[in-house]
Amino acid sequence: MDKNRASRRWKSLAHLGRFVALTLAMAFICLPGAWIVISAMRPTVEIMAKPPVWIPHELSFQAFISMFGVIGQGGVPVFAYFRNSLIISVTSTVIAIGIGMSGGYAFARFRFRGKSAMFLGLMLTRTVPGIALSLPLFIIYARLGILDTHFALILTYVALNVPFTIWLIDGFFRQVPKDLAEAAQIDGCTRWQAFWRVEFPLAGPGIASSGIFAFLTSWNEFALASQITRSVASKTLPVGLLDYTSEFTIDWRGMCALAVIMIAPALTLTFIIQKHLVSGLTSGAVKG
């Protein structure tokens, strides 16, 4: 009996320990995000205070209000930046997913000459640090006359994302048994129908997560965007944050407020799609 009681006590202690550890980990992970939200609503004095003021004394939405105000008086062209970000991220994600699906499917299903070399080549492009590309890209785009356009950024982000989406989606199509597409073809599907009615729905969650990944990369990218964009015509939100820096001062509160505006849609999108990321959807397809 004593052994049982000891074991039970040990178990509940371990449970408590896990709870505390996880809470601490979550607090640590969430702190930067929470700090941005809090900083967006407190006066600059408090933000810069040393030692830090942990609990804000007063909260106000002043930064958000002036952000949408007159440009030059704390106002920033939020809508224009937001629109640019949205157009560039959505378009580049859609294209990257389209190419990623075709490429990933080909790598997963077909045998062709130079397959592994090509795959390796795609992966190697990821080893180049993005910032190293900024100068060559700037020169090329300047010559082509596409600096400061949506097109330039879309092109850049598609190129950045495609290797990764191909790699991810290849993995997801590999998990869909080949037999299923064959069974569908015998059931009367064309090769195309078999893809859309059977293989695509099963790889869907994986494709969605590659989509989130590609979207967030484009949405948050700063280094290249800051070089390639010049004006309100194409500046994205991350580049827009720089509007809060002037020669001698940085408006941290305004910057944090804009960051909140930037985080919100990305967070919402992730929440929406996350529901569909049910793993193990292919279980029960094959074998007993």
Partner: protein
């Protein structure tokens, strides 16, 4: 309903011939089993018939028409996969009705035909479940149901029972046989299990290394194996096959042991010829414990040492020492035997088989 014919059917992967020009005629409503060890090309043959694999050379005819270049959907076939290949994102009902949905049949017709197939296979209570919620045997039945609903001219089965446990496999085997009687379609059934092939098929096709070793009824394959390979492949436990020479009008094993030449082969052997002597465990038994105790003229008796016994209840497999190796014998109405003891054994030579050692082909037999 349809006939199926293969004409010099060949499949090459680069320099390797997986299927080497096989010819086969399958009658309407016939149940044919393709059987052989793994890698013999049986599954590839089936996949070429299905249209899932390109044909390197030769022709496949279904219902008298060459279908080489038709896609699978235009061949009017159904296939049951070894892995079942059920669509995991659809319910059992949707899985079974999928082919009709694709063919844009009216909803009432789909519902009716799915219900009919479900009734045949006792699947009614499972129609709204997902494949992941089914047991192996149930998935197997759904896979068959999906094949039936399509009402094809030819059913193709690719090792459909090999993922099931032994008991379930026996049950499903019976179900498949009943199913064939009900749906009256041509069936091509691939298996590596000779018992499945023997019990199910009208004719079995024994394949090895991409070619056909023998085509015949299960009885043919068992009683009149055309080659040494077939003799060793069909039957469980397998036939005792031992190399020997013909000398002095007798069979002389390499160990020096001798047996008389079986009467049906009296004229087909030559002195000095290298042969393989084959005798089924059923035709080698402890004296008084066999099936064919009648014809005394073709039996040969000698005393052999018992190495091992495997009691199976109604019979016992006895492993004996003879001609320098282990021979298996089947003892009916068994009695306990002492390991190491010598017991009188009967060789029923009227059922012995002789094969040419070089070609593996059966020697000509003169039936009494």
């Amino acid at each position: 309903m349809a006939t199926v014919a293969l004409r010099k059917l060949t499949k090459r992967y680069g320099p390797i011939d997986v299927v080497r020009g096989i010819d086969l005629d399958i009658a309407d409503r016939e149940f044919i089993a393709l059987v052989g060890p793994s890698g013999c090309g049986k599954s590839t043959t089936l996949r070429m018939i299905a249209g899932l694999e390109d044909i390197s050379d030769g022709e496949v005819l279904i219902g008298g028409e060459v279908v080489n270049d038709l896609p699978p959907r235009a061949r009017n076939i159904s296939m049951v996969f070894q892995s079942y290949a059920l669509y995991p994102h659809m319910s059992v009902r949707e899985n079974m009705g999928f082919s009709l949905t694709i063919a844009k049949r009216p909803k009432e017709e789909i519902a009716r035909r799915v219900a009919e197939a479900a009734a045949i296979l006792h699947l009614e209570p499972l129609l709204d479940r997902r494949p992941s919620q089914l047991s192996g045997g149930q998935r197997q039945r759904v896979a068959m149901g999906r094949a039936i609903v399509r009402q094809p001219e030819v059913f193709l089965f690719d090792e459909p029972l090999s993922n099931l446990d032994a008991k379930l496999r026996n049950e499903m085997r019976t179900e498949i046989k009943k199913l064939h009687a009900k749906v009256q379609a041509t069936v091509i059934y691939v298996t590596h299990d000779q018992i499945e092939a023997m019990t199910l098929a009208d004719r079995i096709v024994i394949m090895r290394d991409g070619h056909i070793e023998q085509v015949g009824t299960p009885d043919d394959a068992f009683r009149r194996p055309a080659t040494r390979f077939v003799a060793g492949f069909i039957g469980s436990p397998p036939m005792n096959l031992v190399e020997a020479s013909i000398a002095d009008g007798e069979i002389v094993f390499d160990s020096g042991d001798r047996l008389p030449i079986p009467a049906p082969y009296g004229k087909s052997v030559k002195a000095g010829q290298r042969i393989v002597f084959g005798l089924r465990p059923d035709d080698l038994y402890p004296s008084g414990h066999g099936l064919n105790t009648g014809h005394a003229d073709n039996v040969h008796e000698r005393s052999l040492k018992v190495n091992l016994t495997e009691p199976l209840g109604n019979e016992t497999l006895v492993f004996l020492d003879f001609a320098g190796r282990d021979w298996v014998s089947r003892m009916l109405s068994p009695r306990p035997l002492a390991i190491g003891a010598s017991i009188p054994m009967t060789f029923d030579l009227s059922h012995a088989h002789l094969f040419d050692n070089a070609t593996g082909a059966a020697l000509a037999r003169e039936e009494a």
